[in-house]
Structures are given as structure tokens and as C-alpha cells.
Amino acid sequence: MKVRVEVTRRPEIADPQGTTIKRALHDLGHTHVNEVRVNSVFHLEIDGADPDGVRSKVEEMCRQLLANPVLEDFDIELLQ
């Protein structure tokens, strides 16, 4: 099963890299950009066909490694 995981910094946590990129976009004339957040996307291929089982495995991976629970949230999308 193919799985897409997006790890995002929680909205209340600062994202200095996003802020710097926003400023650079403004410098290039894209002044209509109000916010930039930099996230990570993971594409996983996992053995198993049971959606619930795969989801709960990936949740475990997110909590253990892929996301930093102190700063980040994660979103799991099962693709076929």
C-alpha cells in the first residue's frame, strides 16, 4: 500500500525558515504571499492491505520517528 505522510510544524510554533522564504518572495515581487510554512512529505510503500492496520502502523512511525511530537503534527493519507 502507498502512503503519503505530511509532517507539519504546529501552527503556534514559529517557523523561521518559512519566514525567511516569505521575505525573499516579497523581495522578488510576490508581495501577496502572507505566509510560508515549510513541511516534510514522506512517501512510503508498505506491505499489507488492511487500511486500519497500515494506518495504525504509520501513526506509530510518526510518533516514534517521522514527526517530533513536541513541535509537529502529522497527516496520513492512504493512496490505493
Partner: protein
């Protein structure tokens, strides 16, 4: 004969470069990245640091700074343009040097002396060196691993060992004309016996001797 040492927000080696150049009798001045011309300068150094905090990719934002237009004109006109560390990364992002710099093989920042070997003396940074000359200068980078997927690039200085996985053990790379050079270790940090090495002077003397009046 004055060298422009370009300062981006986040640059941090600018004063070290100016003082090393001055200690060799050269003349260097700081130039802010918002400047739009390099009138009155004969050469350019992009010093090390973390321009724009290395946001997105090293050098990715700095290449759009206004100063980079005159720097590119300088490069095309055959005048000496040298990037050290972050400056090397910026020159690659700006397309003035081939390839790109990615994270070190071991995914760790490396700050230590490394031994390098000059393999090409036909550039503005190496013309005072002997072919094959070995020198000891400090490396100080996380993205010091040069890759050149198209196989382009003229490797002019190689690491003796392989500290970071750089293709062809490249420590410095030049354009085909030899007037634009990026070097990952810091020559300006090896210019005083008290600090451990004066080998960096070989590179900086080459650079100064390449200068011809504007």
C-alpha cells in the same frame, strides 16, 4: 586595487577575509548585498557564513540579491570572483560555477583542519601554488559535498582524504576560464602561525597577484 567582500544577511566570515587580505598587503572593503554596482572594485570575494540563514537551500535566496548581477558581469568579464564555503554554494546556485553542494556524507557539521592538494594551478586562486602542493587549512561546513551530475567542473584543489563525500574529492572548483573559483575550506583561517597554519596564504597571494586594475 580593491577587493569587494560581499555581505549578505547571515554572512559571518567577512571580517576574517578582510583582515587576512589586509595582512598580505591587499585592500578589501565590505559591500552590502543590496548594492547594485561594483564600480571601483577589481575583484570579488563571497565569504562564508549562512546567507539568509541557509533557508530553503544554501545560497538559494542569496543568488537573487541585487549585488549578484554585477558579480555575474564581473565573472563574464574574466575578473577574479572567489566564493569561500557559503560563497562557493552561492556561486553554484547562481550558475556561475557548475554543480551543487549538498549535505556532508555523514550528515554532520565538520570543523577541523584538512589536508588538500592543488591539482590545477591555472586559476585566480591557485596560480602561486606548485602543482601537487599539499596544504593544511580548516574546513567548516555542513553542505560541503560537491556534486556535479552533468560531470562538468574543473576541480582545482582536492582533499587528500575524503572528509565529506565530495565528488572527485573536490575542495575547490573553477569555471573553464579559471577566473571564478569556489573553495569549501577557508584559506583566510590559515593565515597566522599563532592559529595553527599559514597555508591559506598560498591561495590568497594567488588571488591578489591575479588582480589587474579595473
Amino acid at each position: 586595487m580593491t577587493t569587494a567582500v560581499v555581505v549578505f544577511p547571515g554572512t559571518n566570515c567577512e571580517h576574517d577575509v578582510v583582515s587576512a587580505i589586509s595582512s598580505l598587503g591587499g585592500n578589501a572593503r565590505l559591500v552590502w548585498h543590496r548594492e547594485t554596482d561594483l564600480d571601483g572594485y577589481d575583484s570579488v570575494i563571497l565569504p562564508g557564513g549562512f546567507a539568509h540563514g541557509d533557508a530553503l537551500r544554501t545560497g538559494a535566496i542569496a543568488r537573487f540579491s541585487p549585488i549578484m548581477e554585477p558579480v555575474a558581469r564581473f565573472a563574464r568579464a574574466g575578473k577574479p570572483v572567489v566564493g569561500i564555503c557559503n560563497g562557493f554554494q552561492i556561486l553554484c546556485e547562481a550558475g556561475l560555477l557548475p554543480g551543487a553542494l549538498i549535505a556532508n556524507r555523514d550528515l554532520s557539521f565538520i570543523c577541523r583542519y584538512v589536508d588538500v592538494e592543488v591539482t590545477d594551478t591555472g586559476t585566480v586562486l591557485t596560480n602561486n601554488a606548485e602543482p601537487g602542493q599539499r596544504l593544511r587549512i580548516p574546513l567548516n561546513s555542513y553542505e560541503g559535498n560537491w556534486v556535479s551530475p552533468e560531470g562538468e567542473g574543473r576541480v582545482v584543489v582536492r582533499y587528500v582524504d575524503d572528509p565529506n563525500g565530495s565528488t572527485d574529492r573536490a575542495a575547490a572548483v573553477a569555471n573553464s576560464a579559471g577566473n571564478v573559483v569556489g573553495i569549501m575550506p577557508h584559506p583566510e583561517r590559515a593565515t597566522d602561525r599563532l592559529l595553527g597554519s599559514t597555508d591559506g596564504n598560498v591561495f590568497l597571494r594567488s588571488f591578489l597577484s591575479s588582480l589587474v586594475p579595473a
